[in-house]
Amino acid sequence: MLHVSNLSVARGGITLLCGVGFALNAGQILVLRGANGLGKTSLLRCIAGLQNPVEGQITAPETVAYSGHADGLKGQMTVLENLAFWSSVYHGPSPEVALDAYDLHALADRPAANLSAGQKRRLGLARMQVSGCALWVMDEPTVSLDADNVALFRAALDRHVQSGGAAVITTHIDLAIASARLLDLTRFKARGLMGSTAFEEALE
């Protein structure tokens, strides 16, 4: 489903990662580890199609479900309205499934602005369910979630993967997902290739 080869990723003109390569099939979970500032977020944004890599190939499905650092919620809309909107944009399943998965029924009619940080995160993760996308690309999904909610997330992830989906996740903490492959990105850190941009190459 997802195939990455010889990928170089940059941010702000500085190449952060170099030569990244991996393959992900349906039913697999890949967890990317690495220190802050390594370029995990930039790598995920490349996979999600938000930015172009400096070099290399990405083969990914047409649309992916992306979850970044920000929650991407509209405060004035209720939980249900937020999910219904994304469901219709992605032509995905109805919000009911997502409400079940993250135990949000009680909060369904509450405006998103009135949620706690953890509840907002749950809503953000619930959005992945209504997208109906096979590939989930998630940047530090469990930030601000307590242990119970992390368990909910793990369960949802398992269900997704068992029904043929796949997920790429970056995280600082150990998510204790038994079936996940681990890839430490530190060995792809770009060394000595600082700021190699097209402009520079043209000057050489």
Binding site: G12, M194, F199, E200, A202, L203, E204
Partner: protein, 256 residues
């Protein structure tokens, strides 16, 4: 093994000239010559025009400001044309030198627009009695001035160099379309209300162009302005290339 010729085509050689390093080479060599030629044409054109042509019957000696006004106006439009072409080349081929040339052309074009406006106002004052009228031609140049300012402001507002190049190029292209649209709109706006009241600059210039006496120095002056524009453009583009290189070196230094 195919028999395709490996000699560079004309276009390959052409684009090679736009490589930053190659550009710095040939522009550096060409610059003194272009600058000298500009000085020569400008001086000869302006001196001949001001001191060695008779005064006009109707307008007296103020008509001689035409030697500044017409070339400046031409260059003002030329500047935007260059920005448009540079923007297009950048968006299609990502040639850094062309977008930096566009960036360098903007302030030059803007100043030319100001000169055209100022000289237009000075020229018109004896005829109209005031320094400014909303004559279609002058108004078009005022709007062109605003387009230049917007382009320069956008360049300045964005930190990342490549993003700035991309966004300003999109602006330049959309702006070009609207600038041409504005020109027609402004004529409609003025002519629509006052049919043929104002004797526009064009009429004044047209009649003077007929007599050779005025035309030849004007030609020299236009050549001079054109070469001046080219000189300033080359200097400006070289500065931008150097400035960009400096930023890259500074960024490298920060990483170490």
């Amino acid at each position: 093994m195919n028999n395709r010729s490996i000699a560079p085509t004309f276009w390959d050689r052409f684009w090679r000239l736009a490589n930053p390093k190659v550009f710095m080479g040939w522009s550096g060599r060409a610059l003194p010559w272009v600058a000298a030629a500009a000085g020569l044409f400008l001086c000869s054109g302006l001196i001949w025009g001001y001191f060695f042509t008779p005064d006009d019957i109707r307008q007296g000696s103020t008509v001689k400001i035409i030697y500044l006004h017409v070339p400046a106006a031409l260059m003002a439009i030329n500047g935007y044309l260059l920005m448009f072409v540079g923007a297009l080349v950048w968006l299609i081929r990502r040639q850094h030198v062309s977008v930096l040339a566009a960036k360098a052309a903007a302030p030059v074009g803007m100043v030319m627009t100001l000169i055209a406006l100022a000289t237009g106002a000075i020229w018109g004052q004896p005829m109209w009695g005031t320094y400014w009228v909303w004559d279609p031609r002058l108004t078009s140049f005022l709007i062109l001035f605003l387009f230049y300012v917007g382009y320069i402001a956008l360049w300045a507002a964005i930190e990342d160099e490549d993003t700035a190049a991309d966004l300003t190029s999109v602006l330049a292209i959309v702006g070009a379309v609207f600038a041409m649209l504005s020109r027609y709109a402004v004529f409609f706006w003025n002519q629509g209300l006052h049919q043929g009241t104002t004797v526009t600059m064009a009429d004044g210039a047209q009649q003077d162009n007929i007599s050779n006496v005025f035309f030849q120095p004007l030609l020299l002056s236009m050549m001079g302005f054109g070469l001046l524009f080219l000189t300033l453009l080359l200097i400006g583009t070289r500065t931008e290339v150097r400035s960009r290189r400096l930023k890259v070196l500074q960024a490298r230094e920060r990483m170490e």
